[in-house]
Every structure is written in C-alpha cells, then in structure tokens.
C-alpha cells in the first residue's frame, strides 16, 4: 500500500534531524496558526500564493532562497564543528549522517539557495528595468516558482522521512546506483532536483522571451540596462543547459528504478558518461548564477559612483563571450579522468581564456569608479568586497585550470576554497547587495545602514578566516568531505576555519537583525520619492512599492540610462512636463494553477521516492486535470479603469516634482 514507506523511515534513533525537523514543523504550524487567527489567510492566498505578479513572485523566490541559505549555513556549521572535533576521534556526526550533511549543503546552497535568490531578483527587477508591466507568461512564472518550492520541500522532507543522498551534491555513479546506494536518499535528490529543474527551465524560457520580445518603446538592445543583459545571458544558458540536467538525471533514475544500464558497471554501462553530462550542465550552471551577479554589481557600482557604466558595449560583449565559452570548459572538473593530454590541454586553455571576459568586467567596474563621486553605502561595500574576493577566487581558478596543477589539487580543500571564493564572493555578496539596493523598491522603505555595514564586515572577515585556511589545508594534501582525520598539520587551520564560521554566524545574525530593525523603524526609513539612491534605470521611475501595473504609460526610452535621461530632461524643463493621457490597463488575473501544480508535483515526487505507485498515478491525473481546467478558463485578464491608473500615477508624479524642487532648492 505505501511502497517502501514504513515507520522505520522516521529516524527515531537520531536526535539531531528529528529535533530539527520538529522545530521546523512547529515554527511552520505556528506561523500558519498565527496567520489564520489574524484572519490573513485570504490575503496570503489572493495576494501571494495565487499571485502572478512578477514582483510578488520575485519576493517569494528571494524569501525561499534566504530560508534555504540559512538551512545550508546550518549544515556548514555542522561540518566545520565536526571537523574541528574529529581529530583522532569520531566527532559527533557518524559517517552516514555527515555524508548527508555535505550532500545537502551543496544541493541546498546551489539549487535551492543561490538559484531562487538570483531568479527572484531577476523576477523583481527585469520587467521594471525593461519598462513593461509583466513577464511574457505570468502564470507560467507562478508555476516555475512553486515547482522550485516543491523541490526545496522534498529535500527538507527527507530530513525526517527517510534520509537524504550521501553521495555528494552531484550523484556520481556507480556510487549513486541502486547497488551501492539502496536507500531513498538518492531518489529524494533526483526528484527534488528534477522537479525544481523543470521550474528553472520554464523561468529561462519566460525571461528570454520577455527580454527579447517585450521591452518599452525605444529600448533597443544596446539601451537595455546591464542587469537585463546578464539576465538574458543567464537565461539563454538555462535553456541550453538545464535540459542536459533533466536528461542525465532521468537516465540515472531509469538505472535506479527500472534496472537500465546507462552508468552501471555491468552490461556495458559507462559511468564517466554521467560525469561528462552532468558537468555539461554543471559548469554553465555556475555562470547562470554569476552572470546576473555581475549585472547587479554593474548597476550598483554605476549608481553609487554617480557615473554611467564604463565600457557598456564591452561589458555586453564580455557577457556574451562568457555565455558561449562557459559551454567549452566542463571537462576541467575531471582532468584526472584520463582523457589524454590533448583533450586536457584544450579544456585547460578554454578554462583560462574564460577568465579574460571576467577581467574585462573587472576593469570596467574599476574605471566606472574612477573619477566618480563614490558613496560607500552597503550595496557598494558588498560590491567592493566582491571585487577583491572574486579576483582571488578567479586566480586560484586559473591555477586549477592548468591540468598538471589540477592533478595535485583535484578534490582537495584547495578546490573547496576556490569555488567558495567565486560563489560566495561572487553570487552571495551580489545577492546581499541586491537585497539592500532593491529592498526600498520592493517594500517602500530602506534597510538600516548601520546593521547592514556590521553584517557586511562580519561576513567579509568571517569569509576570509573560514576559507583561506582551506587553501593551505589543500596544499597540505587534505581532501574534501573528510568525516575524521589524523594529520596533525591540518588541525590548526581547521580550528581557524571553525572560528571563521563563528564570525560568519555573527554576520548572519546582523543581517537578520538589520531586516527586523528596519521593519520596526520603517516609518523613519520610508522612501517617499521612489528613487532613494538617485538611480539611473527605469525601475526607479516607479513609486516604491510599484503599483501592480508598474507603469501607467509605457515609458518612451531615448537613452541607455533611461531614467537618468528622464531626470535630466525634467531638470531642464523644471518639471515633469505635461500629464499624459491615461488609459485603462489590462492585467493578468491571479491563478492558483502554480500552487495546485506544485501540490500534485509534491505528491508525485514523494510517491516516486517511496514507490507508492497508486499515489503517483493519482498525482499525474491531478496534474493533467489542472492543465485542462487552466486551459478552460474564459477570462484570463482584468481591467484597471483609467481613473484608478490616473489616481496612482498622479501621486507618483507629485512626489517626483517635490523631490525635483527640493533638490533644486537645496
């Protein structure tokens, strides 16, 4: 009846996951009960869960990403403390649990932390920067988000029902085959990543269509803000790379479920083919994450230097160069496979060349700051922290791209240090810069600067204290993923690294405090103008938070810095010009399709993990029924009358005129 699921799936013998799971369940139930008691359920259902508004979906993505980032950070604390204790000892995490912790850490951080954060920021910002009202396919956008949430939910269910994968964040066969991993851990991984991967693919399709086909009048390609260019490159990579992930995970799934022989040791299977396929996705994946991060830095550095971005066209070219070359480097993840000197040389050279594109960007950011009037607000601090950290990470990456060096450093702590330098220093720093930069646009008030700076300095110091020792341990020969060890030379650096995690923890606490303090002091931090940073692109032309339709009239773009151009004209004309003629606006209606789809996807995923076939069939039928019901709807849009549009836009114009006159008076 319930397939492989029985009471033995609940880890009653292991207190840590059980207590963690119980706490999470209690918190979730508590929040739900609180919301229900306050009578907010209809609000959450109408305004958030069923919302197809790209701004609300973006905020939900970021929230999911932040929660998963915290969950992955807890895994990191467990790994650091385990290694601090497990010198000539077993520590407090047995191997089978420690293996799940590092597998969950990688999976959560990349696929359910960084990806939702980056995609959430794209969701919120891109349509605003393009000067349009929504993405190309609003309901599909909601489906994407909820499928991602389904994946995150499945990973977290595995904490208390069954187990998670123990084979690392990429399930290399033959270890991940049924013979060596008979439990449900790998199955949880496969279905969680597969379902969320489909969500990500749909996002990629949605945003490429939006950016290439739906822009404000006058916004030619070379007038798009840099963040839109990087989002475009990232989404092109998603369309080209995520199907490879889907295919390779599907093949492993067939091996495990139906006894196929893609990657098995028997009957002619080829395990190295999985490694090739998964990295043909995996390497573009890191550029999917870091290209939008580059876009964020471009926006932040330009705004806080008070200058246009230096070398805009070369920045576009560098972005597209990275986009293409990122598909020609995947083999550097396994130089030791034995493909031969020629193949290794080709991929080694390609891996070094891709750093040229990033180098172009670095110089462009430096020259953007040169001669500018720099304001050291928190987003700018994160950007500066990124520039130093990413250069270190990039240089060690170029070192690892040299095959002979890689033979020595392969799978060592040096590698772990390298990719944390580029992913934390590149992506996570960008996410915090973006969070503080666009927060006032999303919620109508700024974040507290003091706590933000404290969070930044703790994170930066904690980052270096944690990860620089990894380089040293790597050179000393320490491999990654060790549950215990007995080499005395490694020990001091492990302890330094554990201390660094405490500093990072202080940073995380400061970051949470910053958000709480800012919410309680929101009236003092209120952004009344909609343009708190003296911004240059169109999102700052809307009030904070923007109305559901973003722009009452689609703006006419004349310049690469659309809003800066508007402000300049307004100053010349000493006012915002004549009031436009307002018309009624058609907006897509909210739809529970995404949420219902995710509900059935969760059922299907859970049923497949535990081999509960009747439940899987029920879930499939439900998903198909949802599709038909959605196709059957008659009124996909609603109309906001012209009077209402005019009322909202007049308030925005008034605030801007006051700000303009205030600036000229001061």
């Amino acid at each position: 009846m319930f397939g492989k699921l029985g009471w033995d799936a609940i880890p009653l013998g292991q207190p840590i996951p059980l207590i963690a799971g119980a706490v999470v369940m209690l918190v979730l139930l508590g929040i739900l009960a609180w919301v229900a008691v306050k009578g907010w359920l209809p609000y959450f259902w109408n305004e958030w869960i069923t919302s197809v508004d790209h701004k609300h979906i973006g905020i939900m993505y970021v929230l999911l990403g932040l929660v998963m980032l915290l969950r992955g950070f807890i895994d990191a604390i467990m790994m650091r403390s385990q290694q601090a204790l497990a010198f000539h000892a077993q520590g407090y995490l047995p191997p089978e649990h420690y293996d799940q912790v590092f597998s969950a850490h990688g999976t959560l951080m990349i696929l359910f932390g960084a990806m939702p954060l980056v995609i959430g920021i794209m969701n919120f910002v891109v349509p605003l920067q393009l000067g349009v009202r929504d993405v190309a396919f609003p309901t599909l956008n909601s489906v994407s988000f909820w499928l991602t949430a389904t994946g995150a939910l499945l990973v977290n269910i595995s904490l208390v029902v069954g187990e998670f994968s123990r084979v690392g964040w990429l399930p290399y066969p033959p270890l991940s085959e049924l013979r060596y991993s008979p439990g449900v851990g790998v199955d949880y991984y496969l279905w969680a990543v597969q379902i969320s991967g489909i969500g990500t693919l749909l996002t990629g399709i949605n945003f490429v269509t939006t950016i290439l086909k739906i822009r404000a009048p006058g916004m030619t390609y070379l007038r798009m803000p840099m963040f839109c260019w990087t989002a475009l490159a990232s989404c092109l990579l998603i369309i080209a790379a995520f199907p490879v992930l889907t295919a390779s995970l599907a093949m492993l799934t067939l091996d495990r479920y139906l006894g196929f022989h893609f990657f098995t040791n028997e009957a002619g299977g080829n395990a190295m083919m999985f490694v090739n396929l998964i990295w043909a996705w995996g390497h573009p994946e890191v550029y999917i994450l870091v290209l939008p991060a580059f876009g964020i830095y471009s926006e932040v550095i330009s705004t806080f230097s008070g200058k246009p971005l230096f070398g805009y066209r070369s920045m576009v070219a560098a972005t597209l160069f990275i986009c293409i070359v990122s598909f020609c480097v995947w083999l550097h993840h396994f130089f030791t496979m034995g493909a031969g000197g020629d193949v290794n040389a080709v991929f080694g050279i390609a891996s070094s060349i891709i750093a040229v594109g990033t180098g172009v960007k670095m110089y462009n950011w430096l020259f953007t700051m040169y001669g500018g009037r720099i304001r050291f607000a928190t987003p700018m601090l994160w950007s500066l922290g990124f520039m130093t950290t990413f250069i270190t990470g990039g240089l060690t990456g170029v070192l690892l791209a040299v095959p002979p060096a890689d033979f020595l450093l392969h799978n060592s702590m040096f590698l772990v240090a390298h990719f944390h330098h580029v992913i934390v220093g590149g992506v996570v720093f960008a996410v915090f810069a973006a969070l503080i930069y666009w927060w006032p646009k999303a919620f109508g008030f700024r974040l507290h600067e003091g706590w933000g700076k404290a969070a930044f300095w703790c994170a930066l110091a904690g980052f270096y204290v944690t990860f620089v020792p990894f380089y040293i341990d790597g050179v000393l020969g320490m491999t990654r993923r060790l549950q215990h060890y007995d080499v005395a030379e490694w020990r001091p650096w492990i302890l330094v690294s554990a201390f660094g995690v405490l500093i990072l923890l202080a940073g995380a606490v400061c970051q949470i405090v910053q958000i709480i303090v800012s919410i309680t002091h929101r009236n003092e931090l209120r952004d009344t103008t909609g343009d708190p940073w003296d911004g240059r692109s169109l999102e700052w032309a809307t009030p904070s938070p923007p109305p559901v339709f973003n722009f009452a009239i689609l703006p006419q773009v004349h310049d690469a810095e659309a809003y800066w151009d508007v402000k300049r004209r307004a100053r010349e004309m000493n006012g915002s010009g004549l009031e436009p003629h307002y018309e009624a606006v058609e907006m897509p209606r909210n739809s529970p399709t995404g949420f219902v789809c995710a509900f059935f996807a969760t059922i299907i995923g859970f049923a497949l993990v535990w081999h509960i076939w009747w439940l899987m069939i029920a879930g499939l039928v439900g998903a198909y029924a949802t599709f038909v019901v959605f196709a059957w709807r008659d009124v996909p849009e609603y109309v906001i009358p012209a009077d209402e549009v005019a009322r909202i836009d007049r308030a925005n114009r008034l605030a801007r005129q006051e700000a303009l006159h205030g600036a000229s008076a001061a």
């Binding site: 399709i205 067939l254 022989h261």
Partner: protein, 219 residues
C-alpha cells in the same frame, strides 16, 4: 522618429536594407510584440530546450551503441518494414495537422475536427506500432535491461514515443476547446504551439529513423 518613422515602418516594418531605427513591434525599439509573436517565440524556445534533451539521448546512444554486452546488435533486432510504416503514419499525421492549420485559419469547425481526428488516429497508429515493437523485443528477452545498447535505444525511441503520447493528450484538449469555445484568439495561439510541437516530433523522428534505424541496419 515620430510621424516620419511611423509612416516608413508601416510600409517596411522590418526596415530591410536600412540602418535607421527598427520600429516594428518586438524588434529593436518598436515596443512589446503582439501576443501571437510572444507565445510562438516562447514555444520555439521550449522546443529548442527539448531538442537539447534529445541531443543528450542521441549522444548517449552513440556512445553506447556498441556496448551490446554479448546481446543482440542493432541489425539483429531492427525491422525496417515496420519502421517504414511508422514513419509513413507520422508524416501523414503531420500532413493532416497542416490541413487542420488551414481549417483553423478559415474558421471551419467540421474540417478542423476531421483533420485533427485524422492527425490523432495516425499518431495513435504510430504509437501502437512502436509499442508492439517494444513488446516483441521485451518478449524475446531483449528488453532495455539486457545491455547498455538496448538501454540507450529504448530510452531514445521511448522518449520520442512519450512525447507523441503527450501530444495526443494535448490534441484531445485542443479538439475539445475548438468544439466548446470556438476559434478564440487564445485557443488559436495554443493550436499554433501544438502544430509546432507536432512538426517538431516529425523532425526528431526523421533523425531517429536515419541515425538509429538506417545506420543501425547497415553496420
């Protein structure tokens, strides 16, 4: 680029041979494209991503096609006659899908439904033939678990079959929508996507027919 640009853009919307601003909707600075263009474009992107999935399966098949593990080789199990009939069914099915496109453009309900029924029946015939091939192989002990070659073969061809089956379900909903709601613009856009999907499956099948069946029986 006000009045003068607008007049030029109506006579020559894509500004062929001109270096001036492109004011066609959805191009350059012309503002958002029409819904039909947006939907079609998005679906094209989806098809491209689907092609990447098939590319992975083709590459895997190429790598594993010699890994027969002592089991049958390609030429031992392929029956070209059956495959030729399958191919004919699928291509004819696409032909009727094209007829349906014309019927939809003419708002002709009877012709639309008839052409879609023909499309669906031919698609169903294709699926049944493929299923019988799979069942026969399985019955003689040459199922996908026999060797890595058969694993790759069943997955590549089966993945195409799953797509056709999903297409048949979609086709059913399209017929129902045309019948119940008529030729609404949004349903027309969905049909545009469906016909693209159906022709795309043809293209994939042509690749499977050539690279798997034809090449396989020659080696």
């Amino acid at each position: 680029m006000s009045a003068a640009g607008a007049t030029i853009s109506t006579s020559d919307p894509y500004r062929l041979g001109s270096r001036g601003p492109n004011l066609a909707r959805g191009h350059g600075g012309g503002g958002p494209a029409s819904k039909r263009v947006v939907v079609g474009y998005g679906f094209w992107l989806f098809l491209l991503s689907d092609i990447v999935i098939f590319a992975c399966l083709f590459a895997t098949y190429a790598v594993l096609s010699d890994a027969t593990a002592g089991g049958p080789k390609a030429r031992d199990i392929f029956d070209l006659q059956r495959v030729a009939i399958e191919t004919a069914c699928l291509l004819a099915s696409s032909f009727f899908c094209g007829i349906a496109t014309i019927a939809v453009a003419r708002r002709n309900q009877i012709l639309t439904q008839a052409a879609l029924i023909a499309t669906g029946l031919l698609g169903l015939a294709f699926i049944l033939l493929e299923a019988s091939e799979f069942a026969a192989l399985h019955a003689q002990g040459d199922g996908p678990t026999r060797s890595a070659f058969l694993t790759a073969f069943f997955t590549l061809v089966g993945c195409h079959g799953v797509h056709v089956t999903a297409g048949l379900l979609w086709l059913g909903t399209m017929m129902a929508q045309f019948y119940a709601k008529g030729f609404r613009p949004d349903i027309g856009r969905r049909f545009l996507c469906f016909s693209m999907f159906w022709h795309f499956l043809d293209i994939v099948w042509v690749a499977i027919f050539s690279l798997v069946y034809l090449v396989g029986t020659r080696l």
